[in-house]
């Protein structure tokens, strides 16, 4: 298992950089991770991240479609907020495992 240094924290991640322990996540860590992806987080970003974390906690498999139906953002806005693969990028910043959905 790899470790990632964010600010002064050491986070457990897999080889692709996804958190292996979502409880290590904080909003400050998210900000730093987002910066590394070239994204500066707004309140809207945080709303999406919280939604993803909540769904992951409930054990609901995530998909772009679900985020689009969340009432927080539509699919177009989701792509705009997290360019370069919205669900992958947002999951990484949200400190949850890489999504496995094909849809």
């Amino acid at each position: 298992m790899a470790q990632l240094e964010v600010n002064t924290f050491m986070i457990d991640v897999n080889d692709e950089g996804y958190f292996t322990d979502p409880s290590q996540w904080t909003s400050e860590i998210a900000k730093e991770l987002a910066d590394r992806e070239g994204i500066s987080l707004t309140d809207k970003h945080y709303e999406v991240l919280e939604f993803l974390r909540a769904k992951h906690h409930e054990g609901v498999p995530l998909s772009i479609r679900k985020v689009g139906k969340s009432g927080i953002v539509d699919i177009k806005q989701f792509y705009a907020l997290f360019p370069g693969g919205p669900l992958k990028v947002s999951s990484k910043i949200a400190g949850i495992p890489k999504p496995v959905s094909c849809v």
Binding site: I64, K66, G68, I75, Y79, V89, V103
Partner: protein
């Protein structure tokens, strides 16, 4: 011997310099439920991985982007040996059987969060994908732009379709 060594080095270099896939052009020429979904899932999957995706629908594939038909596609229950192997082919041909089988398949897909065709096309457009119809096939089936779902950007020729596939790291997928 030197040549072989050089070649091996070349192959190695190519593997090391990973050339990422940047764009897919998915051509869908079929109108059966499973083929259309295969095309949609591959195009949408590329977008959700941060790649570009273009779609070109031709021949019976036009059904998938025709307003009146898109959400009523069927799967073949006759002439499809992979469908319910234990079922005699004749049964697959009974009236209403194909509609029933297609309905059941759609229900199963809904459970997996797979959207209906028209919603899938909306998702692809929202993700930055582009959807085109084939001019020749549209002419042949007497289909006009207004018969097609709003997400269809244009009706284009095969030459224009190849223009869509220009650039580095592009793959064309034919369904």
């Amino acid at each position: 011997m030197e040549d072989v060594k050089e070649m091996t080095a070349d192959v190695k270099k190519n593997i090391e310099e990973k050339k990422p896939l940047k764009k897919v052009l998915v051509i869908c020429a079929r109108g059966t439920l499973e083929d259309v979904y295969a095309a949609l899932i591959m195009a949408n999957g590329a977008l959700s991985e941060g790649k570009e995706a273009k779609m070109f629908f031709t021949f019976f594939g036009l059904d998938a982007i025709t307003k009146a038909k898109a959400d009523h596609l069927h799967t073949a229950t006759v002439g499809n040996p992979a469908f319910m192997r234990s079922l005699p082919t004749m049964v697959g041909g009974l009236p209403g059987f194909e509609a029933l089988a297609s309905h059941m398949m759609k229900q199963e897909m809904d459970k997996l969060d797979i959207p209906p065709v028209t919603e899938f096309l909306e998702m692809i457009e929202a993700g930055g994908g582009e959807i085109y119809a084939c001019k020749l096939a549209a002419d042949m089936f007497h289909i006009k732009k207004e018969d097609l779902v709003d997400e269809v950007k244009d009706i284009i020729t095969v030459g224009q379709m190849y223009d869509l596939a220009e650039g580095d790291g592009v793959q064309i997928i034919y369904v």
